[in-house]
Amino acid sequence: MKPLSRLMAVMRKEVRQMLRDRLTFAMILGIPIMQILLFGYAINTDVRNLTTAVADEANTHLSREFIARLEQTQVTKIAQRVNTVGELEELMSAGKISIGVSIPHDFDRRVIDRERAAVHILVDGSDPTIGGIVDGLRSMPIAFDTTTQPERLEQIEVRPYYNPERRTPVNVIPGLIGVILTMTMMIFTAVAVVRERERGNLELLINTPVTSAELMIGKVVPYIAIGLIQLLVILLAGDFLFDVPVRGSVFELYLAASLFIAANLALGLFISTAVKTQFQAMQMTFFLILPSILLSGFVFPFDGMPVFAQYLGEALPITHFIRLSRGIMLREAGLGDMPGALIYLATFSVVAITAAALRFSKRLD
C-alpha cells in the first residue's frame, strides 16, 4: 500500500536522523536521568539539619537539656552559640542561620509559671519551607521532670496513606514522569518540523506525493516510542534508587503515558506550525513548560491554588496525567477510577493534532 510505505519511509528517516543527532540522543536519556537525580536527591521537602544558633541567656540545667533535645530532633543543627538575641538577628539577616533559638535568662521561671513563652524561636521566613517545619518544634515538651511527662491525649491522629514514611521521591517521581515527558516530547516535535522548514527540506517534501498526515504521523510515532523508553528509565531509576513503587498496573500506567505523550506531541506539532524558527519553537515550549511545572499540582497542591490558576492548570495535559500517575503508582487505582483525566487527554490530543494538520498545509502561502 502506497500511503503505508510512505509513512514507513518518513518514520525510518526520522529515526535515522534522531539517532545521528547526538544531542537529541543525549536528551532522550540524559533529561530523565538528570531530573530524577536532581529531584530525588537534591530536592527534599523533608527538611533536616537547618543551621541554627542558640543564645542561651539562662544557662541552667534545664535550658542545656532543652538544647540537647532540640539537637536530637535532627531538624536543627546547632552551628553557633551566641550571647544575645541581637546577635541572633544579625546572623539571620546575614543569611548565616535559618533558625535562632533564644532562651531568656528567666527560662526556668517561665517554664514553671507557664504564663509566658519560655523559648523564642526565630525563623528565617524568607524561605517558605522552613516556617512550616519549625512549627513542629512547638510540640516539644519542656518540663523539669522528663520521666513523668504530662500525659498528652491524642484526639486527632494523622495517618499518611500511601507514603507513610513521607519520603519525598515517592511524591515526586509520579509527577516527574509528567514533567520529563512534557519537556522532551514537546521540544522534540516542535523542533523536528521547524528544523526541516529552516533547512529547506520541507519545500522539497511538499512537492512529493507525501501527504500532510503522513508527514505528521511519521514524525510523531517514533517519538511515542522514545517517550515510552523514557518512562521505563524513570520507573527503573525510581525503583532502584528511591524504592518508589508502582502499586497499580504497569500496563495501565503505560496506557495513560501513551495518551499523555500523544497529547504533548500533538501540542508540539501545533507549536511547530505556528512558529518560523527553531529558536521560537524553544521559546514557545518553555513558555508552556513553566506553568506545566507550577500549575499541575507537581510542586504545589492543586487544591491550594487560586481558582483562576486551577482553571489554567486543568487546561494542561500534565495536570491530568499527574492525577493518573499518582493514582496508579501510589494509590493502586485503576484507569477506570479516573475516567475524566483519560477523556481529557484523549480529547486534547485529537483537537491539537487536528489543529496542527489544518494549519500545516502543503502550500507555502
Binding site: 518518513v10 529547506g200 527540506n201 522539497l204 517534501l205 512537492n207 502543503k362 507555502l364
Partner: protein, 313 residues
C-alpha cells in the same frame, strides 16, 4: 489534455500584500523542451515556478500543467513532476544513498527496480564514490548532482528547476546542462530559471521576466533578431570619456561598458544611428572606433527591461 504543451498558463498573477510578484503571466511551454525563465532576483521566477507546481495559490489565473488543472488538482500533479529547489533541500545528515532511497520510497518507486534505478543514477550523475558520504559534507557541484538525481529518480514528465546552478562552479554548470539536454532528449520537459545569460542562451525557448511581468519570450535567436534596437559597439582608448559623450546623445537608450568596449543601444526608429554616434565622438575629440553589431542575449535583456522614460527619445 494538451498534446503539444506541457504547461499552458493564462493570466497567472500573485499578489503578496502590496507587491505584485507576478502580473498576468501567459505561458506556453512545449513538451520535451528546455524552457528558461530569465530575470533578475525578485522578478517573479521562483513565484511562478511555485504556482505552477501548486506550492503557491495564484491570486488570479490558472494553469494547465501536464493536462492537470493547477492549483485545483495539484495533488495529482505531484507524482509526475520533479522539483529542484534553489537552496539544497535534501537531508544533510543522511548519506547519498539514504537520500535516494528515501526519495524512491516516498515516490513509491517499484521495490524490485529500486536498487537498479539508484545504481543507475549514481553512475549517471557521478556519485558512485560519494554513495556513503553524508550529503551535507559534499561540494556544491556534488550536492547539485544529487538534487537532480533525486528530482528525476521517479522519471517525471516535467522537471522544475529553480536557479539550480546558483551555487556551483562553471565546470559543474556545463556538466549539469549536458544532463538537462540528455533528459530533454528523452522526452522530459524542463522549466529552468536562471539569471545567467549563457544558460539562458542554451534554452530552446525563453521568457524574460521583469518585476513580475513577462517582457519578452521566444527562442533565443528570435529574441536577438527582434530587439528593435540598433546595437553599436564602440572601442575607445578612453571608454569613460566615450561613455560620457554618448550618454549626452538623446537618441541613446542604454550604454553598457564591457572592458574597453561600450555596447550602445539605439532604437531602430532613429535613422543614421551609427553616423550620429561617430560624429558626436569626433566632435568631442574622442578617439574611438564604432561599428554596428549583432544583438547578444544580454542586449536583448537590456532592451526589454528598459524603463519607458529611457525610451522617450
Amino acid at each position: 489534455m494538451n498534446e503539444q504543451m506541457a504547461i499552458r498558463a493564462r493570466g497567472l498573477s500573485k499578489q503578496f500584500g502590496d507587491l505584485r510578484a507576478v502580473d498576468r503571466l501567459d505561458l506556453d511551454v512545449p513538451r520535451a523542451s528546455i524552457y528558461g525563465f530569465l530575470g533578475p532576483n525578485g522578478s517573479g521566477k521562483s513565484t511562478t515556478i511555485r504556482m505552477l507546481c501548486g506550492l503557491l495559490t495564484p491570486t488570479e489565473g490558472s494553469a494547465d500543467v501536464l493536462g492537470i488543472e493547477v492549483p485545483k488538482n495539484s495533488k495529482e500533479l505531484k507524482p509526475n513532476i520533479g522539483y529542484m529547489t534553489q537552496k539544497f533541500s535534501l537531508f544533510g545528515d543522511m548519506t547519498v544513498i539514504e537520500n535516494l532511497q528515501f526519495i524512491a520510497e516516498i515516490y513509491s518507486y517499484p521495490k524490485q527496480k529500486r536498487v537498479a534505478r539508484i545504481d543507475e543514477l549514481l553512475e549517471k550523475y557521478g556519485l558512485v564514490a560519494q554513495r556513503k558520504q553524508f550529503a551535507g559534507t559534499m561540494s556544491g557541484g556534488q550536492k547539485q548532482r544529487l538534487a537532480l538525481a533525486c528530482a528525476v529518480l521517479h522519471k517525471p514528465d516535467l522537471l522544475l528547476l529553480d536557479e539550480p546552478t546558483s551555487a556551483v562552479d562553471p565546470q559543474s554548470r556545463r556538466d549539469f546542462w549536458a544532463n538537462l539536454f540528455r533528459l530533454a532528449q528523452a522526452g522530459t520537459t524542463i522549466l529552468v530559471s536562471t539569471h545567467y545569460m549563457d544558460e539562458a542562451e542554451r534554452c530552446h525557448r525563453l521568457a524574460i521576466l521583469d518585476h513580475g511581468v513577462k517582457v519578452a519570450d521566444g527562442t533565443p535567436q528570435d529574441l536577438q533578431n527582434s530587439t528593435g534596437m540598433t546595437i553599436i559597439e564602440v572601442l575607445a582608448d578612453d571608454p569613460y570619456r566615450a561613455q560620457a559623450v554618448i550618454d549626452q546623445l538623446p537618441i541613446v537608450a542604454s550604454v553598457t561598458q564591457l572592458g574597453i568596449r561600450l555596447r550602445v543601444l539605439i532604437p531602430d526608429s532613429v535613422a543614421d544611428a551609427l553616423d550620429r554616434v561617430t560624429t558626436a565622438l569626433a566632435h568631442n575629440n574622442v578617439i574611438a572606433d564604432a561599428r554596428t553589431a549583432d544583438a547578444s542575449l544580454e542586449d536583448v535583456f537590456v532592451a526589454v527591461t528598459l524603463k519607458p522614460e529611457q525610451l522617450a527619445a
